[in-house]
């Protein structure tokens, strides 16, 4: 594959054709905030936190789905980007119930970490506090819809890595909801293999191991990484 040369924040980088801006930036140790991205899964460009400026392009582009081109000049930080990212996080905090102090993922939450990182010290929008339920019908895992940010990482982990396709999204807009099978209680979803990959992929406290209490839920991404890497490198193929 041909190599492409480009600049990110003025720093010259070289990367393989077909790589995304996010991959290239991370290889160059340049931080771009992300929420819906998770290594090893298809990118969907949904959270819009990874937006960057590209010289010559009037639109802001998501780093996770934008493929690099020769000579691209990318800016990952600017007043405008910082402002939009902060607003995006504020909108999330106002959308559902994200009271960190009483959350299983307190201290281990990507949303919380990003809010600190991006300097979200207060939320200027009205808290909507919709009343979503908690599904505790599964014997090992639970799902608190009030903590869900609809990043669809669990949906992708379930179909792309586990191949079960138990999780999907029902409804639309703010009324979107992660469901199991055809909107069954999770414990009754026949397709669920109880692998827990969705739980490990969740950035917030929405998906958790049963029995975890406040601040105890740490997601273990290595679990996912292991499977994806093994598959990419064909570690399970027996060569006769």
């Amino acid at each position: 594959m041909a190599a492409k040369t480009l600049t990110i924040n003025g720093q010259q980088v070289t990367a393989e054709e077909g790589a995304t801006v996010l991959q290239v930036a991370r290889d160059a140790k340049i931080n771009i905030p992300t929420l819906c991205h998770l290594d090893g899964m298809k990118d969907v460009g949904a959270c819009r936190l990874c937006i960057v400026e590209v010289v010559g392009t009037p639109k802001l582009l998501p780093a996770c789905t934008t493929v690099i081109a020769e000579g691209m000049e990318i800016k990952t930080e600017s007043d405008r980007l910082r402002k939009y990212r902060k607003m995006t996080l504020e909108l999330l905090f106002a959308e559902r119930n994200h009271v960190c102090a009483v959350c299983v993922a307190n201290g281990h939450c990507e949303l919380q970490t990003l809010a600190y990182e991006q300097g979200v010290d207060h939320v200027r929008y009205d808290y909507l506090f919709p009343k979503w339920g908690v599904d505790t019908t599964h014997e090992r895992f639970g799902m608190d819809h009030n903590r869900c940010i609809l990043c669809s990482r669990c949906v992708r982990a379930c179909v792309e890595i586990e191949g079960a396709a138990t999780k999907s999204i029902a409804g639309r807009g703010a009324k979107s909801k992660i469901i199991s099978d055809l909107n069954e209680p999770w414990g009754e979803a026949d397709s669920c293999t109880s692998c827990g990959k969705c739980v490990q992929s969740c950035p917030t406290g929405a998906l958790f191991n049963k029995g975890s209490t406040v601040a105890e839920m740490e997601h273990d991404r290595s679990h996912l990484d292991y499977v994806v890497t093994a598959r990419e490198k064909k570690l399970w193929v027996t060569h006769a």
Binding site: C47, T88, L91, S152, R172, G173, A174
Partner: protein, 548 residues
Amino acid sequence: MQLDELKAIAEKKKASAKKVCLRTCLSAGCISSQSDVLHKNLATEVKAAGLENDVEVRRVGCMGFCGQGPLVGVDHKEGKEELFEFVKPDDAKAIVSHLKGGACDVQKGDPQHPFFAKQVKIVRANGGIVDPENIEDYLAIGGYQALHHALTEMNSESIIDTITKSGLRGRGGAGFPSGIKWGTVAKSPGAKKYVVCNGDEGDPGAFMDRSVLESDPHLVLEGMAIAAHAVGADQGFLYVRAEYPLAISRLQIAIKQAKALGLLGSGIFETPFNFNVDIRIGAGAFVCGEETALLASIEGERGMPRPRPPFPAVKGLWGCPTLLNNVETFANISAIINKGADWYASFGTEKSKGTKVFALTGKIKNNGLIEVPMGIPLRQIVEEMGGGAPDGHSVKSVQTGGPSGGCIPAEHLDTPVDYESLGKLGSIMGSGGMVVMDDTTNMVEIAKFYMEFCMDESCGKCIPCRAGTVQMFHLLEKITQRKATKRDLDKLEELCDMVKNTSLCGLGQTAPNPIQSTLRFFRSEYEALLQPDATGAPVGANGTAKAH
């Protein structure tokens, strides 16, 4: 099927024309006022009067003047044309006796009314004239001859060249040059390619595409077939929203009839060209009109947009190059092939060629569908064709482009209707919705209406649109309830900017337009509703707190 056979069918049909043709609109609008019963009654009365050999009772599609419906058109062989309006099923007898010279008190319309006289019909040329369920009617006016010409006399390059030169731009909203899009699909490597027609038409108040599909389905099929030949596709999909059952059934009939005559299917006109069209029915989501969501929906996935690039022209259905155009775009094709690029480009302005169909609705005397040359001043549409606002009111604003568009204030009515001029005023051409508002309209309520629509129709994938539209709607509610302060208005404007610039697809990117455009021209209406905030800081741009 060969050209001479095609022409023979057309000639036979023309030769069988009777002295008088009674055309009844059987489009969804008039049917809702029982024009189907009227149509049956007319047939019964003609028979009872012994006029079967002289009078044809024809089912037709939309004649355009929907606000006056049900409509019955009467064509006399010697050229005289009559129009009856608000016809009730019981009026059938009177109309038939009128044909024999008897008295008739059914309201007569004027076929020369400016509403009709100022129209230039390309897309709607056959609407209200041909029977949409009878392919012979379409053949009689020269139907499918453009396809024959394209297949036998033209190649991919020359067709795309013609479309490019015609200046045709996509009628689905964004106005992307069609020739460039066709060329991209043709050039994209791939053994399998698709042609998709977007008939999802979700804008509130818009019914142009429904009318075309219900009135003249073969015109769209022929356009799609020509496109397929040009880009190298052999399979087409027509995506129609489920709310259009009549359009769907007429398309099914049309596809069946075209197949039976060898005008669709394999070896069309005995050339190696194969083209099949299947219908896919939407499930009631506005966002499925967005091209990538529409393609996902056809694939059987949840109808959610994805980031572009890759554009469908390069990677569309099942990863194959896919040409996606709007119904009206396809409906222009056969005329361009028949009459040439120069002819087409002679209508319209420098950058906006041809005609555009609009659904003229709202606070206006003459409601209905019109097709006008691009560049016509908005005033001519609203005042001359539409007759202005009813009941002694005055026109305050004209909304174009639906939830993605904006409101053009009365002082700008002299604006020519073309892509660039509407864009300069902060609105868009859109797909053809044109809602007239009179002096009783509250513009903040209008903005709230469209924001509620976008909030309900947001697919929920990306945060700015999903959560941003909810907050914008709440802020507008707060303003209309007189509970908001200047700070809330500032917050609203900031959100407009953010949602526009960060949303994933066109729905979110354009959702703030109705707010921004009403703020641009009717800001004082917002400010009049604001309250002083806790600091007692003054409301409004001029620094004076408004008393209530």
